[in-house]
């Protein structure tokens, strides 16, 4: 199963995977990585590449800064 990493990850063999890379693991490994929140499944036709890509993650509301009204100018 091909997955795209949301975070940097280094395998126990020392292979460094960067955020955004597409990697093909076997299905069991991919399932473990997905469950750990490290990656998401991508299409089987996706080319496994090292090109770092934009990965959009959801942020909890508490992480979103509230704009200070005084910073707005009209």
């Amino acid at each position: 199963m091909k997955v795209q990493y949301l975070k940097d990850f280094t395998t126990t063999d020392g292979f460094e995977i960067k955020k955004g890379w597409t990697v093909e693991h076997d299905d069991a490994v991919s399932a473990i990585q997905i469950a750990a929140g490290l990656c998401v499944q991508v299409d089987d036709a996706a080319y496994p590449r090292r090109q770092e890509q934009l990965v959009f993650e959801c942020a909890s509301p508490s992480q979103i800064p509230t704009p200070n009204k005084s910073t707005f100018k009209f």
């Binding site: 199963m1 395998t11 063999d13 292979f15 890379w21 693991h25 490994v29 090292r50």
Partner: protein, 141 residues
Amino acid sequence: MPGTTGTVLAKAMKLWVGTSSPVAITCQVDASISMSTNMIQTSCKDSGADGAYLPGEKSWTASGSGNFAFDATYGESQLFAAWKDQTVVAVVFQNTVVGDKKYSGNTYITSLSFNSSGNDEAVTFDFELQGTGALVEATIS
């Protein structure tokens, strides 16, 4: 666990690198694994007309080829690094079907070539791996 029934198709059967989180070598075209036994000849002048042999050392190799891409997750660049540094490459020959068999072991890269053939072809790479230690058969779970 049930595995593949009948003929196993080649498309999903690949070489993977690593032990705990194996990564498929990117854009493979061919993948193979080969086992052999050195046979020790034991026939002598006192033997009859038929040759006699005993099995000696077992050995195994793996090899493959793929399309060359500079941005491949695990491509020619990673193989080149393992060849240059003479590091052990743990490989697995398997598909991803639960219940099917997989074959794994440690190797060293004995040959690696990059090929640009003609004018209207993909650039490719070929590699050969010499197994060191046992080749282990297990079931994909």
